[in-house]
Symmetry: none
Subunit: 255 residues, 2 copies
Amino acid sequence: MDATDIDQSELFSATSWQQRSGGPRYLQLYRHIQAAIKDGRLAVTTSLPAERELASLTGLSRVTVRKAMSQLVADGLVVQRRGSGSFVAPQMKRMEQSLSALTSFTEDMQRRGKTSSSETLSCGIYLPSPEEIVALGLTSDVQVSRITRLRRADGVPLAIETSTLSTEFVPDPNRIETSLYEELSQEGIRPSRAIQRISACNLSEDQAALLEVSEGDAALLIDRTAYLSSGRAIELTSGVYRGDIYDFVAELRNA
Amino acid sequence: MDATDIDQSELFSATSWQQRSGGPRYLQLYRHIQAAIKDGRLAVTTSLPAERELASLTGLSRVTVRKAMSQLVADGLVVQRRGSGSFVAPQMKRMEQSLSALTSFTEDMQRRGKTSSSETLSCGIYLPSPEEIVALGLTSDVQVSRITRLRRADGVPLAIETSTLSTEFVPDPNRIETSLYEELSQEGIRPSRAIQRISACNLSEDQAALLEVSEGDAALLIDRTAYLSSGRAIELTSGVYRGDIYDFVAELRNA
DNA sequence: GAGTGGTCTAGACCACGGG
DNA sequence: CCGTGGTCTAGACCACTCT
């Protein structure tokens, strides 16, 4: 019963964050706590209310609270210790594991201390190309969601990215807001491995116009295939990054 | 009600897979279904019993069945469609392993099944540049060996690489034959870790001539700092790779 | 012993898909 | 329409940690 408990009661018992049509309640609670952690209203290593207390504060059942908590744990934002409690995870890890970590563009930019935004150039459901069938291990009768976006960092055009996923995972590409990985995460899906192939190319006239550089300027061509822990391919992303202001950092190791 | 239902009833209703101390029941069910899918007892695209049916077959509650199913979905082994049912997802091949290994150019080419050769463009002992002092953690009174080489794969010019090491490790750069890492290895020195920064640039006239391409063509700019297991920086290599025929492959991981 | 997270149940309503 | 998965509840027992 320390002073922070009072603030936490206000944070959670207030029904202000409950929306009638904001989707499932466990997602609303998840997003609410996620936001509170990310903007510092919940400091690191502070303990969260116990699940039962959280349930009574929010007026939800403990099962629903647990579903929200389990997502926070999966995201690495919260650590739970049986018999002890739930705590906001130290986020220093983000910097340490930052090198060969599997991150989305949005997370990548956050790590570099830049604000990311994106503009959807095209978006829809298509029949997979032969390469996509091979890379994603699809059968020819399924369809894929494909979205092409212009990515900006601090407002500066940085990359053109095209992501392709089976409609099994993303039935409606129009729902994707800023972060594809965040969208997947809310469905309980998170890639665990990815292979990136990095090459260099000269920009076409159209690409250069979008990126606000000159035709023929050098760019990084990054093809990424992401896999679930089961080994199944889930995402195929092909991106063209401005070579003058973007660099890809990788860590190499011996055994 | 097709023939597969009979097999599935036997698969699930049999209590043979239930162990008293096999851990949580949802995990036992998860592992049981996972094994059945992986060894083909449950063929791809076949439908699984409905969750309620599975619950009554196994004698578990639907919540527990759902917890097992949600893990299978997260693994990509099962796809669920609301209003329709649960299906075994098409499986994918296992991943190739252990990319992002720390290798020299020579080893890299061997892995790709190409013969490597190199031509020394310049070679000598110099005073370190400010960047080299910072990157290698040198004091200003030591000198460095620097060697610039044109690298070929199957006789085709592929990259221009400049390597810098303290003279403590390489007292005489002229002794280096083809592989710098092989040379170091003979002295019992082997980097255990490296950080690579990959960017893109347009080739200058001189670079293009050496690589036998056109001026302005896109190239990969790869800066690598290699470290000993003690954490001490040992090697700084800066290379320009032809973007049209070389690609860098990296593996990214979560956790 | 009191409190915590981890597991589990039985039952309910909703939103969606297909016959 | 009926069956499906998606959400939610109230209550229970266990294993663990801390004091």
